[in-house]
Amino acid sequence: MTSSRQANQNRVTLRRTTITLLILVAGLVIVVGAASLLGSERLPVSNSLCALTTLGTRQCGLTSDQFDILFQIRLPRILLAAAVGSSLATAGASYQALLRNPLAEPYLLGVSNGAAVGTMLALLFFGSLEWSRPLMAFAGALVATFAVYRLARGRVGATPERLILAGVIVTTFLSSIIVFVTTMMDATRIRSFTFWLLGDLSGANSGLLPVPIAVAVVGAIILTLNARSLNLLMLGERDAFDLGVEVSRVRMTVFLIASLLVGSSVAASGSVGYVGLVVPHLTRLSVGSDNRISIPSATLGGALFVIIADTIARTVIAPRELPVGAITALIGAPLFIYLLKRV
């Protein structure tokens, strides 16, 4: 057997990708089940699992209070956690490939803050219109993305350092806008608002829950369809162009879709940090850097990560809650330092 045959067998294939994704889906089902049983109110295990497997069509011996806790409180929150986690991880994985930068992440690039400012403006000016929040968040994310991209592009292209510096500049600028607006709020709103800014999934039972879920699914599909182009973009824009990638179209697609993903998740849950950094790195370490496997794996892994982080956030000091962003940052910040030393 020649060694190119061996290299060929180690390659990522459609078969291997399918198996990996099926395993992740199975893991996700298990984690959703487990997370819906955990919480300040103990639910009977077998009855709850019975109700979950029938998707709430049968009560399976749960009291109506227990049934409501399961289907009106916990499950929507878990689904929101899944949508937010997969959106942020998919966006992070795509930014990293497109910008050839292992440190690119929606939170660190200022994209999350852009979406947060958009959401705040929607709350201030169109408070009664729920739909304005995800739309304005999307617009804010898009503006922040382009601002960072423009600032980072020097004569020699965007180096990782320049990109992160540009991200810091945009982040701090947007933070000051957030602080400015917050100080104009009344005292009761400030607390809930600060909580939201740190990443808070307690708003899951709003009528807008289908929005982040639909955006997460559609966004992940579109970005995965661009994965082979992103594989070449990871080698450099010029190489990708020479090999036939329509670089500007792919770049625009990633910017638009990633902004949409970040916007919809920030509008629903605030800025949950570091998900877009931690998850793509873990998936790349375990499945390799071929985006055809690493992007959809990040999508599912992100859902797993935020569901677990949120379960910790709402159980560790129950009945009180921590913002989920505090848990993800606690895991993410040390990893970021580790990666920064390796870049």
């Binding site: 020649t2 060694s3 190119s4 390659r11 594989n231 990871m234 080698l235 020479d242 036939g244 790349r284």
Partner: protein, 258 residues
């Protein structure tokens, strides 16, 4: 066939390429020589559509380059440049498979077909990278990497090769081996190649025709013996040279005289 007519490319007020015409014929290797800043790389970049010329036309098989899709161009023209810094791990085999991107189609769901794998294996064999194909790109030496860049370009099966100083990182034997592969492609598949090089003797050895550039203009275009004459080389490089016949191949041999 690739044909450029009266190309002019400007960076701001500076004219990098000034009214250059050339044509790349099947089976012909064209060498481009000239001092630093003569506009060689700019010219090459415009030929695959990376740079839009300020004036002039480029025709690919008689169609204007600007009217063709990125994919259509990449199926016909491939570029070998100095490879960019790699920030993510990738094996040599995967790197070379990158050359098959334009051939992706929906029958394999965008994944590599059996033919893609066969082509990749064949070019790895050709470039003697077979043994290294499972290794990571950034574990290779500079010379091995440059061969992988050529292998990826050959894997595209594009009939027009544009090479920008492909031998800059290579030792003597690999320089000849790499250009030998390009020559072989042009002979066996009637491909055409344009090679930018600073090594005039290498150009003399492998090119059929040579384009001598200075300050963006063509000083002389013609067969190797027509272009490699002392007066022209002195005018372009501002150095006295001795031109004699290579004792083995008989092609012109250029030696600077101090």
């Amino acid at each position: 066939m690739l044909e450029a007519r009266n190309l002019t490319i400007k960076y701001g007020h500076r004219t990098a390429v000034d009214n250059v015409s050339l044509s790349l014929e099947p089976g012909v290797v064209t060498g481009v020589i000239g001092p630093n800043g003569a506009g060689k790389s700019t010219l090459l970049r415009s030929l695959n559509g990376s740079l839009i010329p300020n004036s002039g036309t480029i025709l690919l098989n008689d169609k204007p380059l600007g009217k063709l899709s990125r994919r259509a161009i990449a199926k016909q023209i491939t570029v070998v440049a100095q490879e960019a810094e790699l920030r993510f791990p990738i094996t040599v085999f995967e790197y070379v498979l990158g050359g098959r991107f334009v051939w992706a189609n929906s029958t394999t769901w965008g994944w590599e077909s059996e033919r893609d794998l066969q082509v990749a294996e064949a070019v790895l064999e050709e470039t003697e990278l077979n043994e290294l194909s499972g290794r990571l790109m950034n574990e290779l030496s500079g010379g091995e990497r440059q061969r992988a860049v050529l292998a990826r370009a050959l894997a595209t099966e594009a009939p027009i090769l544009l090479l920008d100083e492909p031998t800059a990182n290579l030792d003597l034997s690999h320089q000849a081996a790499l250009l030998g592969l390009v020559r072989e492609r042009c002979n066996s598949r009637r491909s055409s190649a344009l090679i930018i090089t600073h090594d005039i003797n290498l150009a003399a050895q492998f090119a059929d025709v040579i384009l001598l550039l200075k300050a963006g203009q063509v000083v002389k275009a013609g067969t190797t013996p027509q272009v490699l004459v002392p007066d022209l080389l002195r005018e372009v490089f501002s150095v006295d040279v001795l031109v004699d016949a290579h004792p083995v191949s008989g092609v012109p041999r250029v030696t600077p005289v101090h």
